[in-house]
Symmetry: D2
Subunit: 156 residues, 4 copies
């Protein structure tokens, strides 16, 4: 524990209210927005573990750059839906990390989408670098808890 934050978490949840601007003429959310929501999930993952990502960029010249992103859409999200973005660190190396995401509708609990992003740590010029030592403790992959803890296991 540090400042009241757990340094590791199996996953963290962020709440998203779907904006009107995020829909398209199909009447549901445009698929591109899910990647912005995954990013909101990553930021909340950092915040809940006690890492201020903003300062990691400004003070330590370390950016978590996206080099791969994917999403599988299962059910549409709709205007004004209240969603949960569940974010999980699934891989962590000196210069790279991988996150997995699930998006749920809060009222029904339905899983709407799953996704993944893969990242390289870079400096502000875009050159790969090692994650500074002081941040390593925040990026430790936690084995998923065994079932039976009352939490629905993530299906990725």
């Amino acid at each position: 524990m540090e400042d009241g934050h757990a340094l590791q978490a199996e996953y963290t949840d962020a709440a998203i209210r779907v904006r009107y601007a995020e829909t398209d003429q199909m009447g549901v959310v445009h698929h591109g927005n899910y990647f912005t929501w995954f990013e909101v999930g990553r930021v909340e993952y950092c915040r809940q573990l006690g890492l201020d990502y903003k300062r990691m960029e400004t003070d330590d010249d370390s950016f978590i750059v996206v080099v791969e992103a994917s999403c599988r859409y299962r059910r549409p999200a709709r205007y004004d839906d209240l969603l949960t973005v569940r974010t999980r660190l699934t891989e962590s190396r000196r210069r790279t990390m991988r996150f997995a995401y699930e998006i749920f509708r809060q009222d029904s609990g339905e899983q709407l989408a799953t996704g993944e992003t893969f990242h390289v740590i870079c400096d502000r010029l875009g050159q790969p670098k090692s994650l500074p030592e002081k941040y390593r403790k925040y990026f430790v992959v936690t084995a998923p808890k065994p079932s039976g803890d009352g939490r629905k296991p993530a299906k990725l």
Copy 2:
């Protein structure tokens, strides 16, 4: 003339094809996107006059910052419409400038929207500064041509 560019123009036109992602569930373009299109119009205004706005930021630390923006929506733009953004410099001072915009549908010639933006020249820290001397020639307000030249006068 300089490098084949007129240094002044009554207005410049930029073409926009409406993207699916720009629509919302009302079945027409979401109103926020028009401000992005105005920006496309400003960039084309600079390019057509021979000013490389990208270098104005990087080499001369001068940013044309938006401090006011407005739009009046007359008819909806729709997915896949081919539009013209007509951009006109309407005011130019040492530290400020104002642009006016009209958006037309190319096939029908209908005016869909009009708008305005007001800008302050700032450095990268956001401090107001004078527009560097060498850029002044690009920002000279041209009196609208008298009617009878075959071009529909802009109604702002």
Copy 3:
């Protein structure tokens, strides 16, 4: 009172956490996003008064269409800032309504931007219509409270 909601409010507040995707290369939020935030403010205004805007569209074929929008930018919003969008109904007629907005940074209380939107009630085909009778009670302009109530009066 109805279902625990006040039918009228001087203003309502909505919280926004600035997303990384909302910034641009100037290092601050791109100006176009404020209009999306104003929209979030309008939706919260409706929700806090007990009006489900989603059903107003689907069940009563009544859309609050934006016909004018403007914003004045005073100080930049930055990535990860926690903001308040304060929304106030300033004009209400049978077929039209006007909202005013203020955006504050929560930690400093600084006002970052003010804006306005003007709306016409339309059916799904975009034809103007009167606001259905049953919704009128939600759109009553409330005179600003006299000062001395401990709330900072909005300066628009």
Copy 4:
């Protein structure tokens, strides 16, 4: 040939000029925008083959819904870059289709990103359906031309 359009093409190219609004504070394009560009590529693929996707939605109640999307980012795209989105149909079945994309910088020819999307044909309620017979001719996978035709083969 039909109306001057080839009914099949190894790939089609669409031009994109990077917008200021598409950058983020890292100084390069935000990764979410590439999915919007892929969509621009799909629309141009349809247009260049003579298919009006807009009418496919409105007249034939057939939507090409995205169910999976992925992107691999190799080099950053920057403000004002002129890009090519190269789109290729790689799989086509009665109810599904898959597209692959490459994004190039036009001046240097550098490949910036590659991606894929997988789609199910749905009606306006989101129910899967077969692609109407009259549209099948537009969705025929073409074997890549042998090298030696002077066009750089796509590397996906």
